[in-house]
Amino acid sequence: MDYKKTNFIKQTSRLFKTFITNKMGLAGLCLLGFFVLMAIFGPLLYPYDPKNYGVGPIFSPPAHSFWLGTDDMGRDVLGAVISGARISILVGVLSTLLSMIIGTLVGIASGYYGGRADSVLMRLTDIFLVIPWLPLALVLTAILGASLWNIILVIGLTSWPGTARIVRSQTLTLRERQFVERAKAIGSSPGYIMRKHILPNVFPLIFANTVLVSAIAILSETTLSFLGMGDTTTPSWGMMLHYAFESGAASLGAYWYLIPPGLCVVLTVLGFTFIGYAFDEIFNPKLQRR
């Protein structure tokens, strides 16, 4: 056990070192680190109350008193951007978690049991892959009602098929391995085998996939909120963009109201995408051959 542990630490630190030397990986880590810190500590350092109307003039461009200008109700844009980070990242993390759980369960069950269960689950996965995502998500949120939790639920429920596919194919190869055969021979239950033998081995794969799903989840939240399916009481970056667009900031040329929240989304998603790309280059031996 002890030997295993030090080996794990060694491997992890080696992986981390390769990761850091990868330019894209490092850039992604920095970007993401910045926004995570902003979400955690930002609101403590820069308090902001969204109900604080008229602290400044309406639609005033960035100046010394308001670094990022003010919005259509005379509120501080910088404060809104900082407090929006928390919601956007929270929704991203929770919906990714939900998507991962569903994808992993479906993938492992489908790969391990095979046969009829496999074909039913995979048909279901295919259907979710084919149905256009945004219309489905919009219809679902419209029915459930627009709230933060429903958005998390809808993104989680619609974004798992990719994970399920990957986990299934890995489970298929693991199922044939000796340690699974042995566990079966001594009478371990399928649930136990899946939990104790298969899950730990598909975990690195799930982890790498998380990065990509997170990027999609944050983009999805932004889009749903922009289209009016967001939570009006807790403005995320997407919700901010919704209000900004509705108030006609675009045609007034109020770039300071529209650019910052959007740019935050782009850079956060880019952080995830860079990390995912770096993972791909490290783990995918086929890419190194080129």
Binding site: L134, V139, I143
Partner: protein
């Protein structure tokens, strides 16, 4: 083998459409705020009135009869009435179809041509400056919310520089002396929305084309061709590119669903009078029959596109047929 493969794909597509229809059917019955529930909640409504309404909408029947009737209606192209427009849903959708096809079509063709070209350039100069730049730019546009890119273009190209109109498909109230003048006006309105959508799409095409081409470059027949002394240009054009095009077919088909998603966002931002904007309006007004109709039509289109792509792929790569 060929027939079996096609039949299998066809049955799969039919099954998917069937599931979407069932989903749509139950959706309509759990949705809060449809006209029935509002009327039935009214305490002044008499027993007879409720019965009459139930009969009118067919919900006095057991569920399986309702499902049968629903299918029968669908078969006759009846998607119900829109609350908002007081017109048959199918008619409302029909009117908005052309603008969306125009927008998505122009943007897609533009993105495919540009994406393939940049992908080829990037792959054949792997690791060089041009490759790094196109890769970074592709990841950048890929990370952008589509609607936001549209807004940014509006701020800079329409509001600041006043180059393009910000909304609509034609200048309102303008009378055109010729059909050419009309087309020119539409083209001017189309420019920004189409540019936005193709910018969002192009990154993905670049990435796929580049990866696919790099894969092909490691194949033996490429080494052979090079050994024969063919120029690098000729090897790329005649040997590598045709083979690298295969994955593009799948990606383009998968992307049809994504393009529709993009169209919803862009049509909302630019007030483009297509299906996407119609869906946005239907959402805001909770026009459920219309929402249901759009969802069904869009899903069927995507399933159809995927089916066609599967068939084309089967023709292009005979190995597929025997393996699936």
């Amino acid at each position: 083998m060929q027939k079996l493969y096609m039949l299998k794909k066809f049955i799969q597509s039919l099954f998917t459409i069937f599931v979407v229809i069932i989903f749509n059917f139950f959706l309509f019955r759990v949705m809060p705020g449809n006209p029935l529930s509002t009327i039935m909640r009214n305490p002044n409504a008499s027993e007879q009135a409720i019965e009459k309404i139930k009969k009118l909408f067919g919900i006095d029947q057991p569920m399986y009869v309702q499902l049968y009737l629903y299918f029968k209606q669908l078969f006759h192209g009846d998607l119900g009435m829109s609350f908002m427009f007081k017109q048959p849903v199918i008619q409302v959708i029909g009117e908005k179809l052309f603008p969306t096809i125009l927008l998505v079509g122009v943007a897609t063709i533009l993105a495919i041509v540009v994406g393939i070209y940049i992908g080829i350039v990037a792959a054949s100069r792997r690791g060089q400056k041009i490759d790094v730049i196109s890769l970074t730019l592709s990841l950048f546009t890929y990370s952008m919310p589509t609607f936001w890119l549209g807004i940014v273009l509006i701020i800079f190209l329409s509001v600041s520089l006043n180059l393009f109109p910000t909304s609509g498909m034609a200048t309102p109230g303008k009378v055109f002396s010729s059909s050419f003048g009309h087309m020119l006006d539409v083209a001017k309105h189309l420019f920004l929305p189409a540019l936005t959508l193709s910018l969002v799409l192009v990154g993905q095409f670049v990435l796929i084309m580049r990866n696919s081409l790099l894969d092909v470059f490691t194949e033996d027949y490429i080494t052979t061709a090079r050994a024969k002394g063919f120029s690098e240009k000729l090897v790329t054009r005649k040997h590598a590119v045709p083979n690298a095009m295969l994955p593009m077919v799948t990606i383009i088909a998968i992307n049809i669903g994504f393009m529709i998603a993009g169209a919803i966002q862009i049509e909302t931002v630019f007030s483009w009078p297509g299906l996407g904007r119609l869906m946005y309006e239907a959402l805001n007004n909770r026009d459920y029959p219309l929402l249901q109709g759009i969802f069904l039509i869009v899903s069927i289109c995507v399933v159809l596109a995927n089916f066609i792509a599967d068939i084309i792929y089967g023709f292009l790569d005979p190995r597929i047929k025997s393996s699936t």
